[in-house]
């Protein structure tokens, strides 16, 4: 066990996979010297060379397209997009090509690639650098969507994403880069995709969440516990596939569900979870499924406005209390 940050853990997972499999490579802007926005690629170019940690022109469409081509031709590329906002410059390649190639070609092709595109707010980077569009990609057949919340998960899930034969949209949360946690360096196996993590157990209310909201929900759960409300917090880890078994199991027990995400609430993935649970566990519900998501506004720059967008543990606790 050692303590490391979320970014360092991702770097570790990437390095392990690059050591293990010579067909793994990464491409993106400023990966060499800069080592990625948070050091996720630090010193890897020195170790693996410029053909495996490729510094690219500012050409997002081609970063994504090249990763697809690289995958079709027998390698496992990681397309680094820096921000999920910039990945919008390559949505066509991701959605029209990566997600569909296997299907359109009747199974002749596989696209084992990772489209790495961090999400979330990180303090004043405003409307074009703070979005959380994970819901979009859950809606796209062919894609896997991963949203790690802890250092250990950011290693284990990245490893799983790299080994996955499907294209994976891998969405680290920028606000978590510096968060630290225990990582068991001895345990080198990837985590399974599609398996949620129960952050804490509880009987009265289930909170389903992911990414940076996991910590927020966890601290709300602690507050609520002190008030006598026992909350089960589930970190989905992967949004597609999402661990319906774990969520259904929990909701059957608690009878109450709150879904919390940083992304805009309207059209967010919380709607999917709410709809599924409502449709299939209607008889088990003690009250309506509730959602907490962001306002339908671009992310404002000014810190107090940005904070107003964000969801705090207090607000989660308050919303949770509205169930009782």
């Amino acid at each position: 066990m050692s303590e490391m940050t979320y970014a360092q853990a991702a770097r570790l997972g990437l390095k392990e996979e690059m050591d293990r499999d010579p067909t793994v490579w990464a491409l993106g802007e400023d990966l060499g010297f800069e080592g990625g926005m948070a050091g996720q690629y630090k010193d890897l170019q020195a170790e693996f060379g410029t053909d495996r940690i490729v510094d690219t022109p500012i050409s997002e469409a081609t970063i994504m397209g090249a990763a697809i081509g690289g995958a079709l031709a027998g390698t496992r590329p990681i397309a680094e997009m820096r921000f999920s906002d910039f990945a919008m410059c390559a949505v066509d390649e991701l959605v029209n090509q990566a997600a569909k190639a296997r299907y359109m070609f009747g199974g002749q092709a596989r696209v084992p690639m990772v489209a790495r595109m961090p999400i979330g707010i990180r303090g004043g980077i405003a409307a074009q650098h703070s979005q959380s569009p994970e819901a979009w990609y859950t809606h796209v057949p062919g894609l896997v969507v991963v949203t790690p919340a802890t250092p250990a998960d950011n290693r284990g899930l990245l490893k799983a994403a790299i080994r996955c034969d499907d294209p994976v949209v891998y969405m680290e949360h920028k606000g978590l880069w510096g968060a630290s946690g225990e990582v068991d360096e001895g345990d080198v196996e990837p985590l399974p995709l599609g398996v949620a993590r129960t952050v804490c157990k509880g009987d009265d209310l289930t909170i389903v969440t992911w990414a940076a909201m996991v910590g927020v929900a966890e601290s709300a759960a602690m507050t609520l516990r002190a008030m006598g409300i026992s909350v089960e917090v589930i970190d989905l880890r992967t949004l597609w596939p999402w661990d319906k078994d774990a969520v259904f199991h929990s909701v059957r027990k608690t009878g109450r569900l709150l879904v919390v995400h940083e992304a805009v609430q309207i059209g967010g993935f919380g709607g999917e979870i709410s709809a599924e649970v409502s449709e299939h566990l209607f008889e088990h519900l003690k009250g309506p499924v509730k959602r907490m998501g962001g306002a339908r506004i671009p992310i404002p720059f000014s810190i107090p406005l940005e904070e107003a967008y964000m969801i705090s543990a207090e607000q989660v606790a308050e919303k949770a209390r509205s169930f009782f």
Binding site: T23, W25, L27, D51, R52, V54, T56, P57, S59, A61, T62, M64, G65, A66, A67, I68, G69, G70, A71, L72, A73, G74, T75, P77, D92, E93, N96, Q97, A101, R102, Y103, M104, F105, G106, G107, Q108, A109, P141, G142, L143, V144, C164, D165, D166, L193, G194, T238, W240, P241
Partner: protein
């Protein structure tokens, strides 16, 4: 026609047979589109056959190729099975994609044909990445990326040109300049001196040739491909040609000047290759036989396609992804 020592008539006759096969395939595809047997859209390669054939004659089986919406000819030239392709157009079991892709998504990975494409210029960025994989895997393959003259104005293609040169990748870009994009004369929406000048501004050597001259395409491809395989980095070939039919099978191309298409017939590649072969001493009957053979083969494939079973509905749910296996919808 360009003349060359290496162009032995027998070899060219083989290439000519491929052209005939493509032509017959495309005629049949069009007819069956009109008959309602082929759905969606069909972009015929009629009049442009010399390009695909002349280039692919210089490729190895393990070389790669990406195409665009007008991809039947490239597929056949690269060695894809035209029977499986016809079945695909009919949406049947046994089609190259088991009926799941159709005309615009013809692919045959077993011969390095990595797919036609319904989105213009997306094959370009895919190609440079495949070329990076080739380098990483220390293979000596190359990849050919075909694109239309309308497609050159999409940003991803221009990014791909830069990219290919930056990493000195083994890519041959082939712009099939039939001078039109759907109903738009590409000159009217293309600034400057065209794709060759643009490629050169990225440091990519570019040549413009008569793409309807099979021997010239062959000879030029041989040279460019050997340069690329020798580590010379990317090259671009602009092959001038003419789309003898409408943009797709159901387009009557009324936007064309009267007589234009008729006049173009004189320069069309099958006729020209045929004339050259006759000059070389191939007999009329050999040519006639070759034509009949191509037509008969394709007619057989059409019949096979008619008789092939429709895919089982379960097929709609396979080949999606391993993780998060497909979720049926309300239709199931």
């Amino acid at each position: 026609m360009a003349q060359d020592q290496a162009n032995e008539p027998a070899r060219i006759f083989d290439m000519f047979r491929k052209m005939l096969l493509i032509r017959a395939f495309e005629e049949a595809a069009g007819e069956n589109f009109f008959a309602g047997n082929v759905r969606g859209s069909v972009h015929q390669y009629i009049g442009e056959e010399a390009i695909a054939v002349g280039i692919c004659a210089n490729l190895r089986d393990d070389d790669l190729l990406t195409s665009y919406h007008r991809g039947h000819g490239h597929s056949i030239a690269k060695g894809a099975d035209p029977r499986a392709m016809m079945l695909e157009l009919f949406g049947r079991v046994g089609g190259t994609s088991g009926g799941k892709g159709g005309s615009m998504h013809i692919a045959d990975f077993s011969v390095g044909m990595l797919g036609a494409n319904g989105v213009i210029a997306d094959g370009c960025t895919i190609s440079v990445g495949a070329a990076q994989a080739i380098k990483l895997l220390k293979q000596d393959k190359i990849i050919v990326n075909f694109i239309g003259d309308g497609g050159i104005n999409r940003g991803p293609f221009m990014e791909a040109l830069n990219w290919a040169k930056v990493y000195e990748l083994p890519v041959l870009f082939v712009c099939e300049n039939n001078q039109i994009a759907a109903t738009t004369t590409t000159k009217t929406v293309t600034a400057g001196d065209g794709i060759a000048a643009r490629a050169e501004s990225y440091g990519i050597p570019a040549v413009t040739i008569d793409g309807n001259d099979l021997l010239l395409v062959d000879r030029t491809a041989a040279k460019l491909i050997s340069e690329i395989r020798g580590g010379g980095g990317p090259r671009l070939m602009q092959a001038m040609t003419y789309r003898l039919r409408g943009h797709f099978a159901h387009d009557k191309a009324l936007y064309r000047a009267e007589g234009e298409a008729e006049a173009a017939l004189e320069h069309e590649p099958v006729r020209r290759a045929e004339a050259w072969l006759l000059e070389q001493g191939i007999s009329e009957s050999e040519i006639t036989n070759a034509k009949e053979e191509a037509e008969a083969r394709i007619a057989q494939y059409v019949e096979d396609a008619h008789n092939a079973p429709w895919p089982d509905l379960k097929a709609a749910f396979t080949d999606v992804q391993d993780v998060g296996a497909p979720v049926p919808g309300a239709g199931q």
